[in-house]
């Protein structure tokens, strides 16, 4: 357990959002991911996938709880954590004015790759991701498919043991998405521990060794696809997801009923803003 | 042209702008807070400087003063900002002291030079000072003024002994007497300041809206949404133009007002010049200033939009407008010279004429012919600028703003087409 490359314990994050109020975006999440494994985070938009992954990549600080990457705690040793990590998301853009080759060199250097081997590594990456044709054109001139390849090469530039892909296929066309999934599964063969978040069921089905279903900031289940099927007796992941998410919402509704002593069913999952404030005030 | 439609589009632009925090901050909050703060800092520094200069003691070393002239040393000592040091050492040492700033002035007394021996007891002083040091130069002024009054006393005694009596010696007196009232004084200052600021402020206040209405829309990807509404592009362009002009004129006026208000604190008794406390911009000048600002706003808006419309993002917009903005500053500097006369021929030059018109209005007289010429000239120039802006904005590539929509490509294509026709 403790030698898992990625492990979290009671990881939580509270947000204050102008429209939604106080939000427990991530609520006591426990996860782990081993070498050569793809752990899928499956959830709707706003379920807390991105927030979880951002905490793992040290962009956000957890409100409470812990997370370790390769034994380094995210709050205590953020720099060590980032050295072991490649992070890819829709919001990690590339520098437009430099070339792919310069991009790869820059990120290898900045991530502490041994200086003497940087050039060899860059060549290796260019070969592997087949970006040699445009390795010396400026990034701003590339097509989105090309940019995506450069971006993945950038993510693994320093050969990190842990990779995080936050909804990587969200803006891609079908062909590019297929290619990306192939690359990711190749990376698994290299023995990387990979966290992969998506809201596309088929993607999770195809790619992930285990699937964590996340809803309203909570992990509802972490299992292999077969395990999930067994536990729910359902075949399709979509049904399984609805099963878990639906159960959760029903629980929340019941809880609300009890706490308000039968004063009527409040809409599930949407506690009014005032209640949340109350809770915040009294917990302080 | 459908005025109602333009009005709807215009209202939409203004409303979005007023909800944009940065634009409101720049045109309202900044002047409100920054001018008092800047003027305060400026005035505080001025009074600090004044006090510093007033209190600085001059270190004056004297050497070789004949006993007969002891009263001179006494009058130097009597000066409360001069401290006298009797110098016993080598004069070279003292000169070095002056050069290094340890002394301010060294006075080496000696016998008078050739041709002046006729006067018994006459003396000559070599006054060594350091031109590079403020303190030394101030000391020199103080010492020289003491020497002058010493000389005057001497001559006064001598002429009394020689029997030259007062009406003849006094000869004549003269006094300078300023007929300008305090109000005219402050108007003179405002007349230099306000036109300059109006130009700068109108340019500054149109700057961001102009980029916002074009490049900003592209950046927010609302440009195409707007282009596909069922309104003629000319109307969209007109609405945007009016929006930029409104912000330019109103922003400019607000700035000038805020400044004029903050200025008053310096002119109050505790602040500074007491006699200026009552002056302000004459009421009659206000409509002229308002109208001038409006015309400026209209012209500047058209000019800036022509450039900004080629920009694809905020940053580019900025690079494109900056030269235009700088071009506005030149006439502003020109107007700073008070001896430029507001003639009918100068009134043809746009921007400069408005600045001069505002200056004359503040000074209290509006020359009729140049005033009318200004009005006509500005109207013509605004018309030309708007027509040109309309023409540019109607071009498809400008409206689409694709990668080939840059200024360079636009110019190449226009010029190229003409070349082929010719």
């Amino acid at each position: 357990m403790s030698d898992s490359p990625v492990r979290t314990e009671g990881l939580s994050k509270v947000f204050y959002d102008a429209s939604r109020g106080e939000v427990n975006a991530v609520d006591a999440v426990d996860l782990d991911c081993s070498r050569g494994e793809i752990l899928g985070l499956l959830g709707a938009n706003g379920a807390g996938k991105t927030t979880t992954l951002r905490m793992l990549s040290t962009i956000l600080r957890p409100t409470s709880g812990h997370a370790w990457l390769m034994g380094h705690e995210v709050r205590a040793q953020p720099e060590r954590v980032r050295a072991e990590l490649g992070f890819y998301s829709a919001s990690t853009a590339l520098y437009p004015k430099i070339t792919p080759r310069e991009t790869l060199r820059f990120f290898a250097q900045v991530n502490g790759y041994p200086p003497k081997s940087v050039e060899a590594r860059v060549e290796e990456l260019i070969d592997r991701f087949r970006i040699g044709d445009y390795a010396d054109a400026r990034v701003e001139k590339l097509s989105s498919g090309m940019k995506q390849k450069v971006s993945i090469a950038r993510t693994v530039a320093h050969d990190p043991p842990v990779l995080i892909f936050d909804e990587p296929t969200v803006a891609l066309d079908v062909l590019n998405a297929i290619e990306l999934r192939k690359i990711i599964s190749d990376l698994r063969s290299d023995g990387k521990a990979i966290l992969f978040s998506t809201h596309v069921m088929s993607e999770a089905e195809q790619l992930c060794d285990r699937i964590a279903i996340i809803h309203h900031g909570r992990i509802l289940a972490v299992e292999t696809l077969d395990g999930l099927r067994e536990a729910t007796g359902l075949h399709y992941l979509e049904d399984i997801f609805v099963h878990y998410a639906g159960v959760k919402d029903a629980d929340a509704a019941a809880e609300a009923n009890i706490s308000s002593e039968g004063a009527g069913a409040s809409p599930p999952g949407a506690a009014p803003r005032g209640d949340r404030k109350e809770r915040e005030g009294s917990s302080k | 042209m459908d005025l109602r439609q333009i009005w709807i589009l215009y209202r939409h632009e203004v409303r979005s702008a007023l909800r944009e925090r940065s634009i409101v901050a720049m045109s309202i909050v900044v002047p409100l807070i920054m001018y008092p703060a800047l003027l305060w800092a400026g005035f505080s520094a001025m009074s600090f400087v004044e006090g510093q200069a007033e209190r600085l003691t001059s270190r004056v070393a004297i050497s070789g003063l004949p006993a007969a002239h002891a009263p001179l040393a006494d009058s130097l000592r009597a000066h409360d900002r001069i401290s006298v040091i009797e110098w016993d050492g080598e004069p070279e040492e003292a000169l070095r002291g002056v050069a290094l700033g340890r002394l301010d002035v060294f006075m080496g007394f000696g016998p008078p030079g050739a041709g002046t021996e006729g006067l018994a007891d006459n003396i000559q002083v070599e006054l060594a000072y350091n031109e590079a040091s403020d303190r030394s130069r101030a000391a020199r002024v103080r010492v020289e003024s003491t020497m002058r009054s010493y000389r005057e006393t001497w001559v006064d005694e001598a002429r009394t002994d020689l029997g030259i009596r007062n009406p003849a010696w006094a000869d004549f007196a003269f006094v300078r007497d300023d007929v300008a009232t305090a109000e005219e004084g402050i108007r003179f200052v405002l007349g230099l300041l306000v036109p300059f600021l109006t130009l700068i402020m109108v340019a500054l206040a149109s700057y961001y809206p102009a980029i916002d209405a074009t490049a900003g829309e592209r950046e927010r990807s609302t440009w195409e949404t707007l282009m596909t509404v069922a309104a003629p592009r000319a109307n969209v362009a007109a609405a945007k133009y009016l929006y930029v002009a409104t912000f330019g004129a109103v922003g400019g006026l607000l700035n000038v007002t805020a400044l004029a208000l903050s200025l008053r604190w310096i002119l109050t008794p505790t602040g500074g010049a007491e006699e200026l406390a009552t002056g302000s911009i004459p009421f009659g000048a206000l409509p002229v200033i308002a109208m001038g600002t409006m015309l400026l706003g209209l012209l500047v808006a058209a000019g800036m939009l022509v450039f900004a419309v080629f920009a694809r993002n905020f940053k580019e917009g900025q690079s494109m407008i900056t030269p235009f903005y700088l071009a506005m500053i030149f006439p502003a500097i020109l107007v700073q010279s008070p001896d430029i006369e507001f003639t009918a021929s100068l009134a043809i030059v746009p921007v400069v004429n408005v600045a001069l018109l505002i200056r004359e209005a503040i000074l209290g007289s509006i020359p009729l012919l140049p005033g009318v010429v200004t009005l006509v000239s500005m109207t013509v120039f605004v018309g030309l600028a708007v027509a040109f802006a309309q023409w540019v904005m109607r071009r498809e590539e400008v409206f689409l703003g694709a990668s080939e929509g840059g200024l360079g490509t636009f110019l190449k294509r226009r010029l190229g087409v003409r070349g082929r026709e010719a």
Binding site: R82, A93, I98 | A99, A132, R176, V179
Partner: protein, 699 residues
């Protein structure tokens, strides 16, 4: 010293990105290359033209009055002069109504020739605004009244020239008289002064250059560094590359260092290119240097200046980077540029202060000290220990600013644009974040109000400016942030012993503050004229004593305390430790007194009042202290007894009394909540102060 790989990588990336952006290069390098010489040319042209016009100008003079024949002959003398054509600057004209002609610029100077008696009569009637005196030494002589109009350039310049000519004329006529009577030499040769300058030409030019060098360099550096600095953090946020960079293994410190070095390099390079360009233009004679700015700087001096300016470059780059780090977008960063410009350029004006040296308080002001140091270096009066300290002070400032940028990169709200907890809930927590902003705005509004309200009556003006304004502000703040009035205004009952301390402390505090004022006079001397004006403004005449006491003591005592020791102290209480808290509150209180020389003494009283409030946990002792202080000052002022305050013996006694007063207050203390002061013996009593729950729950 070799920089870590990530720092070098970030540095390289920044430079490369900049150089591949032709527009930025164009705006920040190429444009100024032409613009600056052009500006110089234009400036020279305007100046030449002005000088030409000035030289060619003929001033029109009209002479009237009883003794006009004599006056006209004098003016003829001035016009005719000794060397003919060159002096032909005045023309005598005939005008019907000289006064009107002066107004309409048909005439430049109106000379009214008066007899001595007529002149005295005019003076007695108060008919003249005099700039020169015609004292008893002119008894019996005719007086020329030179009337001019100061708003008209020709008139204003002309009267100056005429004045000089008349002085010369009188001197030569007197010389003639003396010579006739047998005096051996002309007046000029009595007690001859032979002024000799010991400074070298380089030093004189250095002194002129040194006044503006830092300003120009900083201006050029900001011009050059602003584009890259805005692009480097704000631009990255906008492009989305910041997340990419922040999830790399480079530490925030390394990232910021790399970016800082890049900005420094670019700013420095652009400044040097511009200077080289200017030098080239000057060297080729394409542009005439402005008068007195032809300077040759030796290589050694240049190297010295370079080393001296290094921390200034770092500080400039640091401030630019910080403003970029705090912006969420390119556009926002752009808006910060104007205030940043003002902030950086104002200290660079320091060498313009006459007689300023590094052996003064300026040594503690970053940037200002280096600009004064550069001036000293150029005038050959360098003071090495001063230069070293100045260098270090500015370097520390640069390090601090850089540290703030690193800090900003840790701020989730700035990176992701999320709303913080305080911003979301509003209320007291947000007030603690916004309190300084609110007071800054209040300060500006106060200045505007104070000097623009059209109130003629002094009493009403005081009531509005002091009473109403300082009453409305705390009220608005309490409403807006939903503060608990009792907490925010510290409306608690202090222990009775405190009052004894207040009675002793208030007069002692007044004398001590006055002592500080006198001590400050050595550092920040006050122009005498200003002081006199102020004296009149503070104690208006014709108002009964009791009204004065109420208006100037009781009203400000209550309202100003509610504002400063009330809401301000409440808002800042968790931000600073007690000592810093007292100083900050006191200083802000001082700044609300506007006149720079009043700030130190007001701030001193503000600090005392804050300390009293902190120890007593209540605003009431401060209100009484403040009222007593002002009342005493008003009384002494009206009785003309300020001189009591001028004795150093009183000062020493007052300091002792003040110590005693604070000691008493300390013994009877019930500390202000949340500031971390150790509770006094009051803890044993059932005091309502400590029993109160934290303010968070109160809404």
């Amino acid at each position: 010293m070799k920089l870590p790989v990530p720092v070098r990588a970030v540095f390289g990336l920044e430079l490369r990105s900049l150089l591949r952006d032709p527009r930025t290069v164009l705006i920040s390098v190429v444009l100024p290359l032409f613009l600056i010489p052009f500006l110089l040319l234009a400036g020279n042209w305007v100046e030449d033209r002005r000088a030409d016009r000035e030289d060619a100008r003929v001033y029109r003079v009209a002479v009237t009055g009883a003794d006009s024949a004599f006056a006209a002959s004098l003016i003829e003398g001035v016009v005719g002069g000794t060397n003919g054509a060159e002096r032909e600057r005045f023309r005598l004209v005939e005008v019907d109504d000289p006064q009107r002609a002066l107004q309409t610029e048909a005439l430049d100077i109106h000379v009214e020739a008066l007899s001595w008696m007529e002149w005295r009569a005019l003076v007695a009637e108060g008919e003249v605004t005099r700039r020169d005196r015609a004292g008893p030494e002119f008894d019996g002589a005719p007086v020329l009244r030179l009337r001019f109009h100061s708003s008209h350039t020709g008139s204003r310049d002309g009267v100056e020239v005429l004045r000089e000519r008349l002085l010369e004329l009188r001197a030569s006529r007197r010389d003639a008289l003396l010579s006739e009577a047998g005096f051996p030499v002309p007046m000029e040769q009595v007690a001859i002064v032979d002024a000799r300058n010991v400074a070298s030409q380089e030093q004189i030019q250095g002194a002129r250059l040194g006044r503006f060098l830092t300003l120009v360099l900083l201006g050029l550096m900001i011009l050059g560094g602003s584009a890259i600095s805005i692009d480097t953090l704000a631009g990255e946020k906008e492009r989305g590359t910041l997340t990419t960079l922040l999830t790399s293994a480079a530490s925030r410190t390394e990232i910021v260092t790399g970016k800082l070095l890049a900005i420094m390099a670019v700013a420095l390079a652009i400044a040097l290119v511009q200077i080289l360009n200017l030098w080239l233009f000057l060297g080729l004679g394409l542009v005439e240097p402005m008068a007195g700015f032809a300077v040759s700087i030796s290589p050694g001096l240049a190297a010295g200046l370079f080393v001296l300016y290094l921390p200034a470059v770092a500080l400039t780059a640091g401030v630019l980077l910080l403003s970029s780090a705090h912006a969420h977008s390119y556009k926002e960063a752009q808006f910060y540029l104007t205030p940043v410009l003002a902030l950086l350029l104002v200290p660079a004006l320091a060498p313009l202060l006459p007689g300023i040296t590094l052996q003064s308080a300026i040594l503690a002001v970053p940037l200002a000290n280096l600009s004064v140091g550069a001036h000293e270096l150029l005038t050959g009066q360098a003071y090495l220990p001063g230069l070293i300290v100045a260098w270090l002070v500015t370097a520390v400032g640069a390090a601090w600013v850089t540290d703030r940028s690193i800090h900003a990169l840790h701020d989730e709200g700035l990176i992701t644009g999320d709303t913080s907890r305080a911003e979301f809930f509003g209320g007291p927590e947000l007030f603690q974040k916004r309190v300084l902003r609110w007071f800054a705005a209040f300060w500006a509004v106060k200045i505007l109000l104070e000097f623009n309200l059209p109130i003629d009556d002094v009493r009403t003006a005081v009531l509005v400016n002091v009473g109403l304004v300082f009453l409305v502000f705390p009220f608005v703040v309490i409403r807006h942030f939903r503060l608990d009035p009792v907490e925010a205004l510290a409306l608690r009952v202090p222990r009775p012993g405190v009052w004894l301390g207040v009675l002793i402390g208030a007069p002692a505090g007044l004398v001590t503050a006055n002592t500080i004022f006198r001590l400050m006079d050595f550092v920040v001397p006050v122009p005498t004229e200003l002081l006199e004006n102020l004296g009149q403004a503070v104690t208006p005449e014709g108002i009964p004593m009791w009204q004065l006491v109420i208006l100037l003591s009781v009203v400000p005592g209550i309202t100003e305390e509610l504002t400063f020791r009330g809401v301000l102290l409440h808002g800042l209480r968790k931000r600073f430790r007690p000592v810093a808290l007292a100083l900050v509150v006191g200083l802000i209180f001082g700044f609300f007194h506007f006149q720079i020389f009043r700030i130190p003494q007001s701030a001193a009283i503000g600090v005392m009042l804050t300390v009293v409030t902190l120890y007593s946990g209540s605003i009431f002792p401060a209100i009484v202290w403040h009222t007593l202080n002002n009342a005493l000052a008003v009384y002494l002022g009206s009785e003309g007894m300020e001189s009591v305050l001028e004795s150093w013996w009183w000062s020493a006694g007052a300091v002792l009394a003040l110590v005693l007063a604070f000691r008493i207050i300390w013994v009877f203390r019930t500390p202000y909540p949340d500031v971390g002061l150790s509770p006094g013996p009051a803890r044993a009593e059932p005091s309502d102060v400590t029993a109160r729950p934290p303010s968070g729950t109160a809404r």
